[in-house]
């Protein structure tokens, strides 16, 4: 039997709005995904360390504070540094459409803008084992 998909949902930086992160965590868990939610105020270092320790397939970052360019880059760089690039990086939040291609160029696999139906995110997460390098 294939092991369940494991995902870390992280809230990097100082933003305290966690409605989305908690909702996504629960909806994914409903779909059989094993979810670890880091809680608020995580540094990129803490997120990557937890992801490696928990042996996750993917990291989903929730960022509503406008710091996404900085945060995604730091997490991506750390994953590279720790040779953990097989962990797929995705996320969502308040992100201007113009920034999405820049994030994808950085190595972020998918950004989900506000309004994305949660079912689409579940569909994406379930496809992660097929996307891994």
């Amino acid at each position: 039997m294939q092991r369940a998909i494991r995902i870390l949902i992280g809230k990097p930086g100082l933003d305290g709005h966690d409605r989305g992160a908690k909702l996504i965590s629960r909806v994914l868990a409903d779909a059989g995904v094993e979810v670890i939610y880091t809680g608020k105020f995580q540094t990129p270092e803490q997120i990557v360390a937890a992801a490696i320790q928990e042996d996750v397939d993917g990291i989903g970052l929730s960022i509503l504070s406008g710091s996404h360019m900085t945060m995604f880059k730091r997490v991506q760089d750390l994953l590279r540094e720790k040779k953990a690039e097989d962990i797929v990086l995705f996320g969502g939040g308040v992100i201007m459409p113009g920034d999405i291609p820049k994030l994808e160029q950085m190595g972020v696999d998918r950004i989900f803008p506000p309004d994305t139906p949660t079912s689409k995110i579940v569909e994406y997460v379930k496809s992660i084992p097929d996307r891994k390098k």
């Binding site: 629960r26 094993e34 979810v35 670890i36 504070s65 308040v94 459409p97 803008p113």
Partner: protein, 563 residues
């Protein structure tokens, strides 16, 4: 209210109507659903009549009464908007102190009567702009305030006493904000009793929601209480505490919970002030209440009416308030951003209009409207201007301001008002049974209740039980291009340079001494405000004061959750 005989006639007639006209109509086609509920899950009947008023015990003289008189259902002022519209505010702040100063001046020039200062996240969390953890966050969601110098720049050319009142948010930074404004006033030679500073300062709710706390619950509660006490004894013209239902509603809770959560928190503050030797009339009349105006128009009207009655009752009958002013609920609203959509953003202007309309019909005191582009960014000038214009149209073109509490007597609205009132008391009792707000938050009750409602809402959207235009229905292919807010890309760099410069040019001995005094005061039981004021006057930074607080009370850490 009605003669018993007349009511019997109405009842009989209702039956006749149901068995004839209604029955014929339903035979031609059913209603869309078997049961209709408000946004907060209250059952909505097909029709409301005087029978419903009777059923909820509507009593004009004893329950509803007169505006400006207990229990204030109809409004806290006898003439309401006939004297002046509500205060039209705009939540502003971003980039740098200078950019924020420019935006404030612009909004005032466009007719905003006031503003609410948005702080950036490092400031909320008592961190300096050059703290490594603040990288990428400086000036994004609000203005960075590193010290008194920042506040001087924000208010450059805007004398503190030139605006009747303004709000500075910050649920956890209350004491720092108070100290900064008192220092600014002293420096400018302005008597602090000549302006109305409204502070949020409600740190209990941070642990349930919102989350910009920077130390432990004990530390924050002591400091929030210090602010309330200090203002009660020295600056009764300030509003030292704004109880908030807004954030929990935005996180997903119902209108009932939105009222009950901050009421429970308020009770905790009242009990603390009693311990400190103050009577409710000494301070609670200066509180204000902050709510999220939602889209279910008539429920929102009923919500605010019910709230005024509940607060008046609790203040008077539970805590013995004698002064009518103490029993007034001064209500500030923000149109809830969670109701806006990212796609087809201009339709959000329609949404915020309805949210604001409900608030005007309900008789609130202060309004801030969301900008149509909030799902993308901090508002542009265009977005902020439309938000103010919306308020101006409501105030000057719709006529809703010409009479007090226009929806009073509506069979539906009065029924809803009573139902909400009853439900809030029930919910409040549940929180009390747990030991009150602090215990309930510690147990995770607020948090789990909120998350449960957010989950339910999401399910309704996914299943289309709830239609949301431009979200799950009525979509278009075209992506609307929204003009970007032009951030100065160097704002963060400049702000960081400025705080580093400040630390060189100030009297560092004075700062060191002030921080040492602060440390002592925090470890003691006396009100810590005088030493926080001393520190800010000496140009200590927000982060330095935060560091001392964290040193004494501890850092706040969240744990991991497995789903």
């Amino acid at each position: 209210m009605f003669d018993k005989e007349y009511l019997k006639k109405i009842e009989a007639e209702k039956k006749r109507w149901e068995e004839t006209t209604l029955k014929e109509r339903l035979a031609q086609g059913k209603e869309m659903r078997d049961s209709f509920k408000t946004d907060s899950q209250i059952e909505v009947n097909r029709l409301y009549t005087p029978l419903d008023l009777e059923a909820v015990g509507f009593d004009y003289l004893n329950d509803t009464s007169w505006p400006g008189e207990y229990p204030f259902v109809r409004g806290i002022d006898p003439v309401m908007y006939r004297a002046a519209p509500w205060v039209m505010m705009q939540y502003s702040g971003f980039g740098s102190a200078e950019e924020t100063n420019r935006r404030f001046k612009f909004m005032l020039s466009q007719g905003a009567s006031s503003f609410a200062i948005a702080l950036d996240l490092p400031t909320h969390k008592a961190l300096d702009s050059d703290d490594p953890v603040a990288e990428g966050e400086v000036g994004k969601v609000g203005v960075p305030i590193d010290s008194l110098k920042s506040l001087e720049a924000i208010f450059d050319g805007i004398p503190l006493d030139s605006i009747k009142m303004f709000v500075c948010v910050g649920m956890s930074t209350g004491p720092i904000i108070l100290a900064l404004f008192l220092s600014l006033a002293e420096k400018a030679g302005i008597d602090p009793r000549r302006f109305g500073l409204f502070m949020t300062n409600e740190s209990l709710m941070e642990f349930a929601c919102r989350g910009t706390q920077f130390t432990t619950p004990a530390g924050h509660f002591r400091l929030s209480a210090d602010v309330v006490e200090y203002c009660a004894r020295n600056y009764p013209n300030f509003s030292p505490l704004q109880l908030c239902g807004y954030h929990t509603r935005e996180a997903g809770c119902t209108a009932i919970q939105e009222l009950a959560f901050p009421l429970a928190n308020c009770i905790t503050y009242i009990e603390e002030m009693t311990r400190r030797g103050l009577s409710i009339d000494d301070y609670a009349g200066n509180f204000s209440w902050f709510f999220s105006s939602s889209l279910e128009l008539l429920e929102e009207v009923a919500k605010y009416r019910a709230f005024r009655k509940i607060w008046a009752n609790i203040a008077k009958n539970r805590f013995g308030a004698k002064n009518p002013k103490t029993m007034h609920a001064r209500i500030m609203i923000y149109t809830g951003g969670s109701h806006l959509t990212r796609r087809q953003p201009y339709i959000n202007i329609v949404r915020t209009t309805i949210q604001a309309l409900s608030s005007a019909l309900a008789g609130v005191q202060f309004m801030n409207l969301s900008s149509f582009d909030e799902a993308y960014q901090t508002p542009t000038e265009e977005g902020a201007t439309i938000a103010v214009r919306t308020q101006q149209i409501l105030a000057y073109e719709t006529g809703v301001t010409k009479t007090v509490d226009p929806l009073a007597g509506s069979y539906y609205v009065e029924t809803l008002t009573k139902k909400i009132e009853d439900a809030v008391y029930d919910y409040l009792q549940r929180i009390e049974n747990m030991g009150g707000a602090v215990k309930a938050i510690e147990k995770g009750f607020y948090q789990s209740e909120i998350a449960e409602q957010a989950y339910r809402y999401n399910k309704e959207i996914e299943t289309k039980e709830r239609i949301k235009v431009a979200l799950n229905e009525f979509l278009t292919d075209q992506e609307v291009k929204v003009a970007s807010l032009k951030y100065d890309p160097d704002a963060e760099k400049k702000t960081i340079a400025a705080v580093k410069e400040l630390r060189k040019e100030r009297d560092n001995n004075k700062v060191k001494q002030a921080l040492e005094n602060l440390r002592k005061a925090l470890k003691g039981t006396e009100n810590a405000m005088p030493s926080i004021i001393e520190a800010m006057k000496a140009y200590a930074t927000v982060g330095e004061v935060g560091a001392v607080i964290r040193e004494v009370y501890g850092k706040y850490e969240e744990g991991m959750v497995r789903f």
